[in-house]
């Protein structure tokens, strides 16, 4: 029962990074990721520089390395494929520790691993310093279409409500002696999922009724009218702007 949406990705703090407006941070992360993915994979040193830049941001945001690294784990299912590449990609072979590996495969794996990790790390930093709600507001200010913003807002608001409902249904099932233990029980689970869908749909109708009762006409009023100064933008965009010359050098080299 904390205040605010204390999502497990978010880390409360009042660092300069936390204080930046969410839309500037979103723009900065997007810019940084674009710079990273367009860097030639052979410029290994450039990726080291990018990592150093992110480390500097993490230090500024007072996000501990352990926090950041443990959340990078989300990447694992995606990079599993990269690990296979040196074994399956055809081409020139090389021998590492007695194992024959493909050179293009190694480069491919490195490419995915390095760019993926940097992208995920930047996103984790964004999530660690920006509340979920602010992220949605940031997207709204960056001009994301209103229906998408509304869908995201409702997901934040009703995620917990629906999870609770799901939990209550599961308790009710088990209270009547049901334990899902095999394929034979999938039918019951599927029916529960269907019931949950219908309940959520009906809730949606009731919420819509409550919304139009309070003057909803199709758009959500934008409530935060804070203006963003050039200095704030400059501070947020320092990350992609610092990364850009590294990429240019890498292209020349």
């Amino acid at each position: 029962m904390g205040a605010g949406h204390a999502h497990h990705l978010y880390r409360r703090g009042d660092s300069p990074v936390h204080g930046l407006p969410p839309h500037t941070k979103l723009a900065a992360v997007l810019g940084f990721v674009l710079v990273v993915v367009t860097t030639p994979r052979e410029a290994v040193w450039a990726f080291a520089c990018y990592a150093a830049l992110l480390a500097a941001v993490a230090a500024l945001a007072r996000v501990p390395a352990g926090f950041l690294l443990s959340r990078l784990a989300i990447e694992i299912p995606f990079v599993a494929f990269a690990v296979l590449m040196p074994f399956v990609v055809p081409g020139e072979q090389t021998t590492v520790l007695g194992v024959s590996l493909s050179v293009p495969g190694l480069w491919g794996a490195w490419n995915i691993l390095a760019k993926g990790t940097l992208g995920v790390a930047a996103s984790v930093l964004l999530a660690a310093t920006t509340e979920l709600r602010s992220l949605v507001l940031g997207l709204q200010r960056l001009g994301l279409p209103s229906p998408l913003v509304q869908i995201a807002s409702f997901m934040i608001r009703y995620g917990d409500v629906i999870t609770d409902e799901m939990r209550r249904m599961s308790v009710a099932r088990r209270s009547r002696g049901f334990e899902a233990s095999g394929v034979r029980h999938w039918g019951v689970l599927a029916k529960s999922a269907g019931a949950l869908f219908i309940r959520s749909y009906e809730r949606g109708e009731r919420v819509h009724l409550a919304m139009i009762s309070r003057g909803y006409t199709g758009t959500m009023p934008v409530l935060d009218a804070a203006t963003t100064t050039r200095t704030t933008w400059a501070r947020a965009l320092a990350l992609p702007l610092a990364a850009l010359p590294i990429r240019l050098l890498a292209l020349l080299g």
């Binding site: 205040a3 949406h5 009762s213 409530l223």
Partner: protein, 248 residues
Amino acid sequence: MTVPPSLDVRGLAYAYPDGHQALFGVDLTIGRGERVALLGPNGAGKTTLVLHLNGILAAGAGSVTVAGLPVGRKHMAEIRRKVGIVFQDPDDQLFMPTVREDVAFGPAAAGLRGAELDAVVERALARVGMAAYADRPPHHLSFGQRRRVAVATVLATEPEILVLDEPSSNLDPASRRELADVLRSLDVTVLMVTHDLPYALELCPRSLVLSEGVIAADGPTREILADDALMNRHRLELPFGFVPGSVA
């Protein structure tokens, strides 16, 4: 110049698209500042009536007038601001990520912005004693607190009439009393739809009985609750041991 009544309903009839007729000519008038209970058994048409008050359902016949303004397409925005409906489940009513944004929704939809909007939100939350919870997500509040925030969300638009659908349902006795204190402290017309007869007696000097789509009785709550024949006829029952005459 006389003040028009907060709510005036004349000959209101309504049938659902599937042919089921719910209202058969409802007549009622609620003066400004009155607190009135709307009683009736399940299926009497109470919710249907409520949805007519702010134009969500359009009358098949008859009319609804709010503070002199006829409910209809022409004045819809104004009507929805004047009629504040508090729905039964606060999780339906509170659809924004934080309490503050939720309370701000109505006034913001009416065009309020900036410091003015903040002041309105603060005041509405203060009126229900929830000012300290402005930045909480509704999910992290107790049920009673959510119900009070739901009241604040409609108070924020300074409604002419507050319509509460089962305000005491699912509340523990303390939350129930706190909500009663809040409702008593408001200087606004209240129409309270409820099955909770002691609550109606506590808060509303006057009651209406809606039964089978018509107003079957209209009078002082105490007299209605004491009229056994009337109560039986409309499937209204007092809780065990409750004697209306014995309550001061």
